[in-house]
């Protein structure tokens, strides 16, 4: 049954922007996540790898994303995340929650939270926890 034609009212659609910054090339995880979120009824705006900080921050504005997910498999995530959140604030979208995933060291959780990261999904995170986070934080009124 086509969703649009369904007789029941459908709920609000969450738009989640997913991408990787810089030279990180391990896109398998984020690609899998894109599909998992799709299957949870979320619209994923998929940017893939090799994005620049200003390019991705501009995409948050133009796509009116409800939530952003960054995936990292390299050690540079502290710098990149700080620059990215700064670039989002400069463009007036500092209120959009940012989650990060990938190889995130537990020692870095506190500084990441301090710079404004709303959710951290390191190794061992469950997909249901990520889906729940995206629907709850991305679906909140703003």
């Amino acid at each position: 049954m086509m969703v649009e034609e369904h007789l029941l009212e459908t709920s609000r659609t969450v738009r989640c922007l997913l991408g990787m910054l810089g030279t990180d090339v391990h896109s398998k995880g984020i690609r899998t996540l894109a599909q998992i979120l799709r299957d949870a009824g979320i619209e994923v705006i998929y940017l893939g790898e090799h994005n620049s900080v200003p390019g991705m921050a501009q995409a948050v504005v133009d796509e009116d994303a409800d939530i952003v997910g960054l995936s990292f498999s390299s050690a540079a995530y502290l710098d990149y995340t700080r620059q990215f959140i700064e670039a989002m604030r400069e463009r007036g979208v500092g209120d959009v929650p940012v989650m990060i995933g990938g190889l995130i060291h537990p020692d870095d959780h506190a500084p990441l939270t301090d710079m404004g990261v709303a959710g951290i999904f390191g190794p061992g995170s469950t997909t249901s926890a990520i889906i729940d986070f995206v629907l709850t934080r991305g679906g909140a009124p703003r």
Partner: protein, 314 residues
């Protein structure tokens, strides 16, 4: 839901945040959004609207990326509306067209917005027309609308684009496919992309023959069939030239151009009227839709009877 709606002035002034939010609100069908879109429509109509369509994997996004590159080189401000399908099962989507356009991501003269089709079956989303209106009001010179990967019948792009560019590949079938009704009939410009593929010449011949024996899409216009290789940029200049030539033909045949515009207006009005009907039907169904669905499933009633029961008797 985005609760705060922007002002029309913010959108007209080029505020991208405001435009982004208004498109979201239009997609969600918020009543406040409709009023804004209506105002913007009356003030708009300045930008060129170019439709890019074709089957999945024909290279539409890569071609759009190349077209943007050339148009930016000409100093034009370019917006892209890229539509991808929604899951018929969950309503979710993976909108991946931006991946091929990341080179323009930080260019202030380029705006890219991804849209999910959300159950619309004509190759666009129901709100694509509204999104075009919003972006046009921002003053972009060119708006490129990329459809979902289409089969043969998805021709909603006709109702919105000034010019329709169809991408095909050598694997698009033989001469009999070329003469079937549908998307091939409405293409103003045809590109056989991935021209390095064997069989490209044969496809170009079949399509050229088809074009020569059909009614022109616009009086005085002969649909060109071009060979392109978007990944390396080959033949893309020729598409830009063909688009310019098509607009020139438009100007030379004002009556024809007007006929097309009236047909577009008619299609849009009809689509909106149908959307109003769909909303009313859903509202009528709300009180006891569960019982109705159960009755049909259990065959206590039938879908015809159930549909009739949505409407109060005269």
């Amino acid at each position: 839901m985005s609760l705060s709606l922007p002002t029309a002035d913010a959108v007209i002034g080029g505020d991208r945040r405001a435009a982004g939010r208004l498109i979201t609100a239009a997609e969600a069908g918020l009543p406040g959004a409709e009023a804004l879109v209506r105002d913007l429509y009356r003030a708009g109509g300045k930008g060129r609207i170019i439709g890019i369509t074709g089957p999945p994997g024909a290279g539409k996004s890569t071609m759009v990326d190349r077209l943007v590159e050339i148009l930016r080189g000409q100093g034009q401000r370019v917006a892209v509306l890229a539509v991808d399908p929604s899951s018929p099962l969950t309503g979710g989507a993976v909108l991946g067209d931006r991946v091929r356009m990341s080179g323009h991501a930080a260019d202030g003269g380029v705006l890219i917005r991804s849209m999910a089709a959300r159950g619309a079956l004509g190759g666009l989303a129901h709100a694509t027309g509204d999104a075009i209106t919003v972006i046009d009001a921002m003053g972009f010179d060119v708006i490129i609308v990329e459809t979902v990967g289409v089969g043969q019948s998805e021709v909603d792009i006709l109702a919105h684009a000034d010019v329709v560019v169809l991408l095909q590949t050598a694997h698009g079938g033989d001469g009999i496919q070329a003469v079937k009704a549908g998307i091939l009939e409405v293409a103003d410009i045809i590109a056989v992309n991935k021209a390095e593929t064997p069989g490209t010449d044969r496809m170009i011949r079949a399509l050229t023959q088809m074009v020569a024996h059909r009614t022109p899409t616009l009086e005085g216009w002969e649909t060109p069939v071009l060979a392109t290789e978007a990944t390396v940029g080959r033949g893309v200049d020729a598409i830009i030239d063909a688009i310019d030539a098509f607009y020139a033909c438009h100007s030379d045949h004002p009556q024809e151009a007007r006929r097309r515009q009236r047909a577009q207006a008619s299609a849009r009005i009809l689509a909106l009227a149908q959307a109003v009907l769909r909303r009313r039907i859903r509202a009528l169904a709300q009180p006891d839709v569960d019982g109705l669905l159960d009755d049909v499933v259990a065959r206590r009633t039938d879908p015809y009877q159930a549909a009739a029961m949505l409407f109060p008797p005269d």
